[in-house]
């Protein structure tokens, strides 16, 4: 934003207070998760004490989680699946978004409708026929099953998001490059796509997160502990009967999300830098 007038009061009003409010709302549950994950069971079930602090913190839940369950295996599986699904979704998404954003051709309206229509089918309805297909391809209990099915949830949104970004890039830039003698392909790779990095990052973050988070398909297709992802593995092995292993569940929640957030923080920096360097002005 351009010149800011007014001193720290204005800044407090515009920045610190709203930011603080958002942060409280967003991060309080994580504080709660963290506290719960280091509380011994006796404190956890004690309703009389102040719930927000821990009197005798213990790392037992973390230790149990890492040593007595396959948590690390699930984490690796989740990461692998998320990366592959995201890659497929971004590629397919771009392949759909570019023509629809930039080119005129017959049937484009139908295609955009068809892509949109995939979301009409909710997962609880899809999973039975999908289970059928997966089993016929003998992909049950393999990570390939989810790597193939997750993009069905992700591609349409990636396509839409990318279309939005693609459209906001002025056509003049590409035209200029073409006039300079570049082929369409070169234009796309050297001029266009780099400008859309924020879009790819947004779409990529969305896709990666949704893959990580997915539950229903993983539940149906991945039943052996070695191939499970974190959401399913945690629920399968940390909930026994009507007994929840709360401490371990919360430890799993934190271990499953905080590292990813830290990684994301690097990308956030990247796309801001990518934008200002992209110099729409120039």
């Amino acid at each position: 934003m351009s010149v800011e007038r007014g001193g720290w009061r204005v800044r407090a009003l515009k920045l610190w207070i709203p930011l603080g409010a958002f942060m409280l709302f967003t991060l309080f549950p994580f504080y709660w998760m963290a506290v719960t994950s280091i509380k011994p069971n006796s404190e956890l079930y004690n309703r009389k004490i102040m719930p927000m602090i821990v009197y005798h913190p213990t790392l037992k839940h973390y230790v149990d989680l890492l040593t007595e369950t396959n948590f690390l295996v699930w984490t690796w599986n989740t990461f692998l699946v998320a990366v592959v699904s995201t890659a497929i979704s971004l590629v397919f998404g771009t392949m759909l978004a570019y023509p629809l954003a930039r080119m005129k051709f017959a049937g484009s309206a139908l295609i955009s409708f068809a892509v949109a229509a995939t979301y009409l089918v909710p997962q609880p309805l899809l999973f039975i026929p999908l289970a059928d297909i997966i089993n016929q391809l003998h992909l049950g209990d393999t990570l390939t099953s989810v790597m193939l099915t997750y993009p069905t949830l992700l591609v349409p949104f990636c396509a839409w998001l990318l279309m939005g970004y693609f459209r906001s890039v002025p056509v003049e830039l590409e035209d200029a490059a073409r006039i300079d003698g570049a082929t369409r392909l070169q234009t796309i790779f050297r001029v266009f796509l780099p400008l859309c990095v924020p879009g790819f990052i947004s779409a990529g973050i969305f896709a990666f997160t949704l893959s990580q988070n997915e539950f229903l398909y993983a539940l149906i297709f991945l039943t052996q502990t070695d191939v499970r992802t974190v959401p399913v593995g945690a629920i399968a092995e940390l909930v026994k009967g009507d007994v929840f292993y709360w401490g371990q569940l919360m430890a799993a929640a934190l271990l499953g999300s905080v590292p990813v957030a830290v990684i994301y923080s690097f990308f956030v920096e990247h796309y801001v830098a990518g934008l200002t360097a992209g110099a729409v002005k120039q």
Binding site: Y45, R47, L137, H138, G140, R184, I220, T223, G241, V243
Partner: protein
């Protein structure tokens, strides 16, 4: 761009067709030979030792005896029905699986007829309990082998009950209400689930309904019988019971909530399986010492009831070698093997075979004896009607649970009965 795109898509297509080809070849070679392994799918038990016993003791023993490897696949709680459904639907996956409730009826066309081995197993172990057939017999054939009943009984704080002058667990619902009023005043309310869980809600509401003489459907399985004076009496009692002894949260409780509430000393009485006592003794010994278990109270009809919550084992029809699976089942349920399995679970799964009526594991913890005694008057939801599709639809739609819950939340008895009756008539129209 065009070249890259085509290359990518060709790779994908090749990959898929290669996988299919490989899968096809593998599948073909498996069909002919005797099974090298079979899979038994089970819901993960909250008693880790139980699952471990199968994996580490039973499976290796069978492999040693026959050379067939038995894989024990666990599924998270609440997901076993979904998994069973997928396996039944697609005809692939584990050969044997654990079922619950009336699922042998639901999956009946995909389950092997095990009447023959049921007889063998029963004969070896003193015969089957009368109500074990309720859950597994479809059109006169046994479609699954009953394994264990996870009884739902009253769990209560013996010390707090004594403090208000109640020395032993009340015999009737009316007496329980009186005790509850005193306990709520003393700061120890009751907590019975009225939300959308799997078991703890049905676990007391159906017995309540039955003990007042009310029925959901007649014995013929077609006539909706819920609209009756008995039902109204049950509902009125339930509303009073809720208002005078409990608190609002229970309306939204799921199965885990009452465990949590009991173990954190929020409530003095609830209904549950043996899991509360088991966890209490393990993690909260002080609470464990004063926790008691008792059969459900009797109603105005003079009878008491419990909900039947059977775990059964079925063999799917897609099993390549059905005889091998049957042989395993017979071996498993032989007292030499299964007694140890029951024992390791500390009677959490009450056997359906009379041979174990006086087994040592019942006496290890005398407080578990009421679970054994409750077997005689335990029934599936929908009793006295036989199991049927409309019945499982009614359970899935929480018709009876919501009827009670809405009444407790404030609706009039007449209105909730009318709603439930209309819903049931719609559901049982096709019966």
């Amino acid at each position: 761009m065009a070249n890259i795109v085509n290359a990518a898509s060709r790779r994908d297509v090749l990959k898929i067709s290669a996988l299919t080809a490989v899968g096809g070849i593998l599948g073909a070679s498996r069909a002919g030979a005797a099974p090298k392994q079979m899979t038994m799918m089970h819901e993960s038990s909250f008693i880790p030792a139980y699952d471990a016993y199968f994996k580490n003791t039973l499976a290796p023993a069978y492999e040693k005896a026959t050379g067939i490897k038995i894989v024990y696949e666990t599924v998270s709680v609440g997901s076993i029905q979904t998994r069973d459904t997928t396996v039944a639907e697609t005809g692939t996956g584990p050969e044997m699986a654990q079922m619950a409730f009336n699922w042998p009826f639901l999956f009946d066309q995909k389950l092997v007829d095990v009447t023959d081995i049921a007889k063998i197993i029963g004969d070896k172990a003193g015969g089957w309990h009368a109500n074990s057939a309720e859950a597994v017999v479809v059109n006169g054939k046994w479609k699954a082998i009953p394994f264990g009943n996870i009884g739902q009984l009253m769990n209560y704080r013996m010390d707090w009950f004594e403090e208000v002058g109640v020395k032993s667990f009340p015999e009737t619902w009316a007496e329980l209400l009186e005790a509850g009023i005193k306990l709520k005043k003393a700061g120890h309310p009751f907590g019975f689930e009225l939300g959308h869980g799997f078991g703890d809600n049905h676990g007391w509401l159906y017995p309540l309904l039955w003990s007042f003489g009310a029925r959901e459907v007649d014995k013929d399985g077609k006539t909706v019988a819920i609209d009756s004076a008995e039902t109204a009496a049950a509902i009125d009692f339930c509303r009073e019971f809720f208002q005078k002894t409990m608190f609002e949260d229970v309306l939204g409780w799921t199965d885990v909530s009452n465990n949590k509430a009991f173990l954190s000393e929020q409530i003095s009485c609830t209904n549950n399986a043996e899991s509360i006592l088991y966890v209490a003794k393990r993690d909260f010994p002080d609470i464990g010492k004063v926790t008691g278990q008792a059969q459900n109270p009797k109603g105005p009809s003079g009878e008491r009831f419990h909900m039947l919550n059977p775990w059964t084992h079925g063999i799917f029809t897609h099993t390549p070698d059905v005889q091998a699976a049957k042989d395993f089942m017979v071996w498993l349920m032989d007292p030499k093997q299964v007694a140890g399995w029951y024992d390791v679970a500390d009677s959490y799964y009450g056997p359906f075979l009379h041979a174990y009526d006086d087994a040592s594991f019942w006496h290890k913890e005398p407080r578990n004896l009421p679970y054994r005694d409750s077997m005689a008057n335990s029934h599936l939801p929908g009793w006295p009607a036989p199991i049927s599709r409309p019945q499982s639809e009614s359970v899935a739609k929480y018709v009876v649970v919501d009827m009670f819950a809405k009444a407790c939340a404030g609706k009039s008895t007449k209105e909730v009965i009318a709603d439930a009756s209309a819903q049931l008539k719609q559901i049982f129209k096709s019966a």
